[in-house]
């Protein structure tokens, strides 16, 4: 029981980070039909921004802010204007190729311009363990969970309780109608890219103390984001959250109780089952088929 609680909490923590990444991923899909195959690398990169800023002598909190700003600028703004916009009108596949190339680009850049070695990354909190019903729970897991939940709640409030958020939702649901009603659709799409920039930066800062900052981190994280987004529902923010949490917990539990060799296989099998049984995802709405 104690080990189960331990696994559950650490699984929830990783799952919460996956959820952040998956939420950004679905936001891009909803507003611009961008399947961002570089999302994992987007999470890998801000950690190097933090380390770079700290090399210049910035304290951690300032470096984190700089990383978030850079991430919004480069992974949000520049990504949209330089790569997504010219490709959008040509359908999904050319953009898929572009983002695959972008992931290679970012990975190799981090390797060549920073380091190919895993870099230690400052932890947000001191390494203290709490004891609860015989289980050992690190303060780090709790902090990760708290920050992730706070971020998701903030995003939820923004999307549902502000005029801006409702305009963004309108853009996602029916861009044509939104435009007719006077919503500046292009700007709303841009905002989702900027929000994605913030989300990946936060996820990066949360996960790097655990995984270390390494140029290959994106492979695992990107895959997790896809899986979470699809399992939960491609067109729903709460679907992506559910998917991320399921994935994190399942990953931990299956590695411990079933087979560590095939731990990577369980999410994939769930993915295939979900797609075949409920293509729109667990919480998703059915999309209309295009003829």
């Amino acid at each position: 029981m104690a080990s189960f609680i331990q696994l559950l909490v650490s699984g929830l923590a990783t799952g919460a980070i996956y959820a952040l990444i998956a939420v950004g991923f679905t936001l891009l899909w909803q507003t611009s039909q961008t399947i961002n195959f570089a999302q994992g690398e987007f999470v890998m990169l801000p950690a190097f921004f933090v380390l770079g800023a700290m090399n210049f002598g910035a304290p951690f909190w300032l470096a984190a802010l700089i990383a978030i700003a850079l991430s919004v600028l480069i992974l949000g703004f520049i990504f949209k204007y330089l790569i997504v916009d010219p490709m959008l009108k040509h359908g999904v596949l050319p953009l898929v190729i572009s983002t695959i190339a972008l992931s290679l680009f970012l990975k190799e850049s981090a390797k060549d311009f920073y380091s190919s070695q895993a870099q230690p990354f400052p932890a947000l909190v001191p390494p203290i363990d709490l004891h609860f019903l015989g289980a050992v729970i690190s303060v780090q897991s709790i902090t990760v969970l708290a920050v992730a939940i706070a971020t998701v709640v903030a995003l939820h409030l923004l999307l549902n309780n502000t005029r801006l958020g409702r305009m963004m939702q309108a853009t996602a649901q029916n861009p044509t109608l939104a435009r007719i009603l006077g919503v500046p659709v292009a700007r709303m799409v841009l905002y989702t890219f900027l929000i994605n920039g913030v989300l990946v930066a936060i996820a990066s800062i949360l996960i790097s103390p655990i995984y270390l900052a390494k140029f290959t981190n994106g492979e695992v994280l990107g895959m997790a984001a896809f899986l979470a987004a699809i399992i939960g529902g491609f067109n729903q923010v709460r679907g992506a959250i559910l998917g991320g949490v399921i994935l994190g917990v399942l990953d931990n539990l299956s590695a411990a109780y079933i087979s560590s060799q095939y731990r990577a296989a369980f999410p994939l099998i769930i993915l295939i089952v979900v797609i075949l049984w409920r293509p729109q995802g667990l919480l998703g709405r059915a999309e209309e088929r295009t003829v």
């Binding site: 896809f226 491609f234 994939l268 797609i275 088929r289």
Partner: protein, 328 residues
């Protein structure tokens, strides 16, 4: 095919036959790799470009083909039988992978096939009793066919090139047959195809099975070419690379995969002059290329040709055949 196209094709074939004599070992290895990957890309082009079924699992089929051939050769089977077995196994597995395509399309299908690719990779890595896991299989012998040994690099290149030509000829014939028309119908408007009495279910499965078996054939040549296979060669990166070849060359254009494979194989090598940064430059070049010509290089050629034609002919003449992308 236009006269210019025929001349260009003839020149390309002559170059492919003569050029290797002037190349050293590594150069011959690279163009052999080009021939092998072209076969896999041709298969993917059939599934994706003609039949419109997105697949991110072609690399897995190259892997299944390569492992089938290597394991059968190790068990002492002759190469031709192992080769055919690889194609048949991939045909069967590809047929099975076609079933999800009956239920979901587009990006969902992309994700199912992506998951399938990773599952195959995990099986190749973890089932050590069969595949030797991460240690891979080494010492794969190149075949002796009717007394002709292909052990030398140049001989093996001609063998690969011959197989590529055979596959391409078969595919060329198929695309012009009613089957090819049916595949295109599947891509352009499945509902109309169904209402015209086309068994879309069977053709969808066929598109996957045939495309996959070409992946298997490529794998069956890949193994004796590299003479060492391991699971990592057939992970997602391989599938992405094959997809890139098809899209960069021009998806739905018959000769697109050849050009795409040439770029994907040679460009990184040429960029080696940029030292450690060659992959960065390569990735940037691909992104730039996609911005300039999202329909691939053959799309660009077609656009240029059309611009020339409309300049020469009166503007009303052209549009009737423009949507027929099956013509190279």
């Amino acid at each position: 095919m236009s006269r210019i196209g025929a001349i260009a094709l003839a020149a390309a074939v002559v170059a492919a036959l003569v050029l290797p004599h002037f190349l050293k070992g590594y150069g011959i290895y690279l163009i052999s790799m080009w021939a092998v990957l072209s076969i896999a890309a041709l298969g993917l082009n059939l599934t994706l470009g003609y039949a419109g079924q997105v697949s991110l699992a072609q690399g897995a089929f190259v892997g299944i083909g390569a492992y089938t051939v290597s394991l059968l050769l190790q068990a002492g089977w002759p190469f031709p039988i192992a080769f055919v077995a690889a194609a048949i196994v991939c045909f069967a597995v590809g047929w099975g992978l076609g079933y999800p395509a009956l239920r979901v399309q587009h990006h969902y299908l992309a994700f199912v096939t992506l998951a399938f690719n990773t599952l195959i990779f995990l099986v190749l890595r973890n089932e050590e009793w069969l595949t030797h896991g991460i240690y891979g299989i080494s010492g794969i012998m190149r075949p002796v066919l009717l007394g002709w040994s292909t052990a030398k690099p140049l001989a093996f290149y001609y063998f690969c090139f011959g197989m590529m030509t055979l596959v391409a000829a078969g595919l060329w014939w198929m695309i012009r047959s009613p089957w090819g028309r049916a595949f295109v119908a599947l891509r352009e408007n499945p509902i109309r195809a169904l209402s015209l009495g086309l068994d879309t279910r069977r053709y969808t499965l066929m598109a996957f099975a045939i495309g996959s078996s070409l992946g298997g054939i490529a794998g069956a040549l890949y193994a004796p070419l590299v003479q060492f296979i391991e699971p990592n060669s057939f992970a997602l990166a391989m599938s992405f690379n094959l997809l890139l070849m098809v899209i960069v060359g021009g998806s739905g254009y018959f000769f697109g995969p050849f050009l795409g494979a040439l770029i994907a194989v040679l460009l990184p090598e040429w960029l080696r002059v940029t030292e450690g940064y060659y992959l960065i430059v390569y990735a940037a070049a691909i992104m730039a290329m996609m911005v300039v010509c999202p329909t691939g290089l053959f799309g660009l050629v077609e656009r240029a040709a059309r611009a020339l034609r409309t300049k020469r002919a009166p503007p009303a003449a052209a549009p009737a055949l423009q949507t027929d992308r099956t013509r190279p």
